[in-house]
């Protein structure tokens, strides 16, 4: 746990996808839960996302992808996360991710995947319980 410090979350939108309803809603739910939230804005590269995570010293990276490109984008981000030695950062993914891709995402270091219908409460609880 992070002691008295508030949990810091980076909400990230990689790739070309502009659908940000989920990212904006979860960012607000995190804020309401007392987390510090930094939103990357749209269409960020893996480098930009990981640099932001470093600079903002976040505990969590939440990646939102709805375009179907998650199997290209997420492993790239995880590679950069490892290079930057951000092994303590909890990385979760939200969006349209078929069940069969969940296992591969977890293999490359994503800790949890939240699909359509996931509740804000469950996501917030998950982050609270799993952040290091």
């Amino acid at each position: 746990m992070t002691g008295d410090r508030r949990i810091r979350v980076l909400v990230a939108k990689p790739g070309l996808d502009g659908h940000d309803r989920g990212a904006k809603v979860i960012a607000r739910a995190f804020r309401d839960a007392g987390f510090e939230v930094i939103y990357t804005g749209l269409r960020r590269t893996a480098e930009q996302i990981v640099n932001a995570a470093l600079q903002e010293d976040v505990d969590v990276i939440g990646i939102s992808v709805l375009s179907g490109a998650h199997m290209t984008l997420c492993p790239k981000i995880m590679e950069r996360v490892r290079e930057a030695k951000l092994d303590d950062v909890l990385v979760v993914v939200g969006g349209i991710v078929p069940d069969e891709d969940v296992a591969s995402l977890k293999e490359c270091g994503v800790r949890e995947v939240f699909g359509p219908g996931a509740s804000m409460r469950n996501i917030v609880d998950y982050v609270r319980e799993n952040v290091r």
Binding site: G18, T45, S67, A69, G117
Partner: protein, 558 residues
């Protein structure tokens, strides 16, 4: 799926035992408080009667179908004389893959095409751009140059079909490619019919597939109005869209008000250019969402026609009836579908499609049951299309115009929807119009607030989504979904590389320089874009030229 009745029964028993929460759900359902507000959160009374319409002159507020103010529909006999167009949106892989699908659809009696482009095309980057990695051919067809557009429509006579192209920031370029294909086929532009979405305001507000800042985007849109009025008179130059505004979380009223006000903004910009309102307004078309709340949706479409009629007549002094008649396409609400128990989505889609038909839509796309998971499989796409065929052929809802007209409840909802629109219009006028409101983040914030409120209502079970926050089942059997492999990306990149080597590079550079000059001077860009396209400049290169002149838009944080 099951070979016998006994098999069905076993499956039913099995499902019942898997419904772990079944008993509690039934108990809760008995004591359940019926929701007293619409999907959009509008409070509803238990009964409506004459008192709710007191002081309302129904004759003038409704008119007859086909007559002003068009509340009851734009044709006198509606679907008796003119059925809605069943226009299913499709596109995937390379132009060759999608051309084969188009020809299959046309061979099976479809008369209109609707092209879905992949994200790199929509964002104005080529398939070999680093940002395109993982996206090529995924959400639509990859189009990088005129060469791809020629392949996409190979063997399809453009004077015999109508084509809808869902493209916004690069709309002038993709339209120019289509026009260039027509030239090569020897088809007169005056005989072409179709639609480009070309609505950037809703991109800044909701879908966020923008490239350039709002003001140059508005100018390029007016360029297409001006060019079409002179050269391609049967083309719908814009589809002013509420669909994406609703999908981003807006209420029904916000969808309606922001969309119609976007329409007002486009008309104002075109008039400022010196265009006569009746020269371009008949080619404006609209695109709305069809969500779950049947009566609220029907009220929305009826109010849309009535408000637009008044706006065009009173605010803009239109004289041509076609300028005042709101035509629209509807699509069922993707955001209402659930990944849980996905077959239930067929039912949701059917009810939403019914709302669009009862509301008098001109064309309709029905979503497939698996769209919260991936692009639709062929089977899911067929069920979606057949949902429309069942509505048209089996239910009898097409027999008369505006069948719900006169319902106390519906008429009250329609009037309230209209009033809500005028309120939003006053606020937007005060802000200095939609471009100014977008720059201040107003519609974006309104929609984000509505999306959050909606999600909270689901979390507190104030709103029930079957299979998501109630009536869940454990151990659901997964359904088959479509996957798109990466070989399309490799083929596309190889073709692009070969094109760059083959074409006349000097001609490309000259055409791009001429386009840059036109964009800088504020001249209409359509002719220079056509010249770039004819020289086989790629979409990414043409967009780069325009990016150099106009810059790119970055959304401020709201």
């Amino acid at each position: 799926m099951y070979s016998s009745v006994a098999g069905c029964y076993d499956a039913f028993q099995d499902a019942m035992t898997r419904t772990a929460t079944n008993e509690e759900s039934v108990a809760r359902a008995r004591g359940r408080r019926v929701p007293t507000s619409t999907v959009s959160g509008v409070p509803v009374n238990a009964l409506y009667g004459p008192a709710d319409l007191e002081g309302v002159d129904l004759d003038s507020t409704l008119g007859s179908p086909g007559q002003p103010p068009y509340t009851r529909g734009i044709h006198a006999e509606m679907y008796r004389t003119r059925g809605w167009t069943m226009r299913q949106f499709s596109g995937f892989g390379t132009a060759k893959d999608t051309n084969a699908r188009f020809r299959y659809l046309l061979d099976h009696g479809q008369t209109g095409l609707s092209v879905a482009f992949h994200l790199p095309t929509l964002m104005g980057v080529d398939s070999d751009h680093p940002m395109s990695e993982g996206e090529v051919g995924k959400c639509g067809v990859a189009i990088d140059s005129l060469q791809d557009m020629e392949t996409l429509f190979k063997g399809i006579p453009l004077d015999r079909i109508s084509t809808s192209m869902t493209t916004n920031a690069p709309a002038p370029i993709l339209w120019a490619m289509y026009l260039a294909v027509a030239e090569k086929q020897g088809v007169d532009w005056r005989r072409l019919s179709g639609t480009i979405q070309n609505d950037l305001l809703k991109e800044y507000i909701a879908q966020k597939t923008y490239i350039f800042p709002p003001r140059p985007s508005m100018s390029m849109i007016v360029d297409t109005f001006e060019f079409a009025a002179r050269r391609v008179p049967r083309w719908n130059t814009i589809s002013i869209s509420g669909y994406h505004i609703r999908e981003a979380g807006a209420t029904a009223l916000q969808e309606l008000a922001f969309t119609l006000y976007d329409g007002i903004e486009y008309v104002q910009w075109a008039r400022r250019r010196g265009l006569e309102v009746d020269a371009f307004a008949p080619r404006l078309s609209f695109f709305f969402n069809a969500h779950n709340d049947l009566f609220e949706e029907v009220a929305k479409y009826r109010a849309a026609r009535k408000v637009w009629h008044r706006v065009m007549r009173e605010r803009f002094g239109a004289a041509d009836p076609r300028s005042m008649r709101l035509r629209f396409h509807a699509q069922t609400a993707g955001c209402s579908l659930t990944a849980q128990q996905p077959h239930n989505n067929i039912v949701r889609t059917a009810i939403q499609a019914l709302a669009a038909v009862l509301g008098g839509t001109q064309s309709l796309h029905t979503n497939s049951l698996d769209e919260t998971l991936a692009l639709p499989t062929e089977h899911a796409a067929r069920v979606a299309l057949q949902t429309q065929q069942i509505l048209a052929e089996e239910t009898g809802v097409t027999r008369m115009a505006d069948p719900l007209g006169g319902s106390y409840y519906l008429e009250r909802l329609t009037l309230d929807m209209e009033e809500g629109c005028w309120d939003y219009f006053r606020r937007l006028d005060d802000m200095g119009g939609m471009v100014a409101a977008i720059e201040q983040g107003f519609p974006q914030r309104e929609i984000q607030d509505a999306a959050y409120t909606y999600q909270k209502a689901i979390e507190t079970n104030e709103k029930v989504i079957v299979g998501v926050n109630d009536f869940q089942i454990r151990d659901e059997t997964p359904i088959d979904i479509l996957t798109i492999d990466d070989s399309a990306a490799e083929r596309q990149k190889a073709a692009l590389l070969a094109l760059r080597e083959r074409r006349d590079a000097g001609r490309v550079e000259t055409a791009r320089a001429t386009l840059a000059d036109a964009a800088r001077s504020g001249a209409n860009i359509m002719e220079p874009v056509l010249d770039c396209v004819r020289a086989y400049a790629t979409l990414g290169e043409i967009c780069d030229t325009l990016r150099d002149v106009h810059g790119v838009y970055e959304e401020p944080a709201f």
